[in-house]
Amino acid sequence: MPLYHDDDQAMLADSASQFMREEGAINKQLRHWRDRDCKDGFGHGLWEQFGEMGFTGMLVDEDDGGLGMGHVEAAIVLEEIGRNLTPSPFLASSVLAATALKHGSEDLRSRWLPGLIEGKSVFTVAIDEGPKHNPQRIGCKAEKSGNGFKLNGKKAFVLHGASADMMVVAARTSGSDDDTDGVTLFAVPKDTSGIEHDARRLVDSSMATHTSFDDVELDGDAVIGEVDGGREILNAMLDAGRVGAAAEGVGVARGAMDMTVDYLKQRKQFGKTIGEFQALQHRAAHLYAEVEIARAVTIKAAQLLDGGSEKAELMASVAKAKVAKAAGLAVREGVQMHGGIGMTDEYDIGLYMKRDRALQEFLGDQYYHAERVAQLSGY
């Protein structure tokens, strides 16, 4: 398969680009909800429009009413989300949770997927338990209780946790905290008794919760896949989410870079357009190279994921790390090259820096993933 978009994918990119530019624009969404101190961090109206566009269920199998598309397609939508800093539950719901639900029973799928596809339901995932990504450690415990389970423990960095109708929770059903085996995934409905959300606003104006579970009673049919067999599904979910987050990061990087290059062509100092200065030209050109490479490896990782390749795991980490490096460079150079105006809230470039920071942490930063690249490469 060639490493560029085919005609159908190019059409999807066009329509996603137009939609995000018009409906998902910074002033219409990110600033709008931020300035109203919105407790969701995104607009439900836009989420329904995502449904009308067919985005919400793009990864869902056709038999379940979705579009049965792949990660290359999801990456196309996410790149446009990133470029416009469009706040939405897409990554958590339509990529991460939807990937988990692929492994769920028919009952689970028919209970949750129709709402997702319509853009009525919002999902999230609860994996990490501390401030740094560490999915190896699952300390939350789910103990057998009657026909179901009793869930206890705490999760951190749950994206829009308080707004989610369902969260996929990774919990331990056997073994100790750092064991690979003994993990089970649960589809936990909102408002189940014993769940408490401590919601925090993050640097990028999104919302995340510290969520605690105190003797939360779950039905046996809330289990996704097999009891004690959740690690494999969790890994599939993480790979999908990492490639998705990388794709969004590519969009953030490209958005910041385009803004900055435009600014270099407009701003005048010393009687010249500052883009004429070679000191800035070379930095902009270097940035271009880094962003192009990050984009290439993200498409590659998505293709490998869609093809079920055994290299997908490695390349998902390569992509996540590379995008973190490139997007980090894009936003830092962006603010610097904008000069003083880049420090103002009025100008959008700072918003890119904030979103990049949050995205970097989500599902593992460049250090986490470089370490993983080393391990998967056998050193």
């Binding site: 030209q281 470089a370 050193y379």
Partner: protein, 393 residues
């Protein structure tokens, strides 16, 4: 279609299995493991000879060139499969040459039928070894300022001047050379000439580099008589007289692609997995290697994307400059890390254990990657002007 390609893959696989000797699947250890062809060529081993001849007879020295010019006439998709299958068994290239990488593509694009019939077949069969005469002592990055002059004498030119950085000129049979034929016209006063290095007045002098090797020469042209034609439909120049700059620019694009594809960090295996076998890595060095591997594996995807886009006529025409920049800078970093991982063993210059100082010499050699074929700084200039469309100069 897909079935045909799978059929082709299995044919290639069994052909390679039957024809590529075991010795030709080992990594290249020294200069003589690379076969360059030419009038004075000799084989290092029987296996090298056998492998070269098998490929030559099948058109596999230049698999994607048309059959009538010595190639195998493979489609782009078949060519990709052929390269994948070669890579899968670590097969060495049967023939390396500037004829294949540079003159060939220029002739395929600009050449006359007569030139293609003669020169491409000679290249494909490894009969003539070519070198490239571009840079001059006073014209490096500013190549178009070159001064080597060919005076028009009717049916021939008399060429005088000096070229530098001519790769393996002392071993080459023929040269493709930029010669000024109009002193008044900077860009449209250069002719892309082809001539025999045995012509009277051509002399070469190897340049000793910091690596201790001499892959480049100075080439002197002192009243060299170059005929304007080598026979019917075989002019001694590519393209038109005074329009050699178009050919040179086209070829520079190819050279950048080649350097970015082969000299860059374009390796499928990670650096860390190669070097960690040498012993315990310092944790900070290991971390740097991991960061390098992130960049290198990403660049591999970029190279693949670039090649796919090239075949489909997609992508920005100035993109090779970006690959050249990123690939060469990456390769320099790779060799810095190899030196660090190697420790004092990597410092050895001529011991047998060090393969004649392979690690150190390669490290030094890579410093030229970001100078030859357009410096990194020139690449950044081109990216900022042609891709980002930044203003000025």
């Amino acid at each position: 279609m897909a079935d045909d390609l799978e059929q082709f893959r299995s044919e290639v696989r069994s052909w390679l299995e039957a024809n590529c000797p075991e010795e030709m699947r080992q990594p290249v250890r020294d200069e003589r493991d690379v076969y360059w062809g030419g009038r004075n060529a000799s084989f290092k081993s029987d296996a090298q000879k056998q492998w070269f001849e098998a490929c030559r007879d099948k058109g596999y020295t230049v698999p994607e060139w048309p059959k009538e010019y010595g190639g195998a006439g493979l489609s782009p998709a078949e060519g990709k499969i052929f390269r994948q299958e070669m890579a899968a068994i670590n097969a060495r290239p049967p023939l390396s040459s500037f004829g294949i990488w540079m003159l060939g593509p220029a002739l395929l694009h600009f050449g006359t039928e007569g030139q293609k019939q003669r020169f491409l077949n000679e290249i494909a069969r490894g009969e003539i070894r070519w070198c490239q005469g571009y840079s001059e002592p006073g014209s490096g990055s500013d190549l178009v300022s070159m001064q080597t002059y060919g005076e028009d004498k009717g049916d021939h030119w008399i060429v005088n001047g000096q070229k530098i950085w001519t790769s393996y000129a002392d071993e080459a049979d023929w040269i493709f050379c930029l010669v000024r034929t109009d002193k008044e016209n900077k860009y449209q006063g250069i002719t892309f000439m082809l001539f025999d290095m045995e012509n009277q007045g051509v002399s070469t002098k190897p340049i000793l580099l910091i690596s201790g090797n001499s892959p480049f020469c100075e080439t002197f042209m002192d009243d060299v008589k170059v005929p304007k034609s080598y026979g019917e439909d075989i002019p001694a120049y590519v393209g038109e007289v005074n329009r050699g700059w178009d050919v040179a620019k086209y070829l520079l694009g190819h050279e950048r692609e080649m350097i970015s594809a082969t000299g860059g960090g374009d390796r499928a295996s990670s650096l860390g997995s190669v070097t960690s076998r040498q012993g315990e890595l310092d944790p900070v060095l290991r971390a740097e290697m991991a960061m390098f591997d992130v960049d290198a594996l990403s660049f591999t995807a970029m190279s693949e994307k670039f090649m796919d886009e090239l075949k489909a006529n997609k992508g920005h025409p100035a993109q090779p400059n970006m690959l050249k920049y990123a690939g060469t800078e990456l390769n320099k970093r790779r060799h810095e890390l190899l030196m660090a991982a190697g420790g004092s063993a990597a410092l050895e210059w001529d011991s047998e254990e060090s393969g004649g100082g392979k690690t150190a010499r390669s490290w030094l050699r890579t410093k030229a990657n970001s100078i030859e074929g357009g410096t990194s700084e020139v690449m950044l200039n081109v990216i900022s002007k042609r891709i980002l469309e930044l203003p000025g100069g």
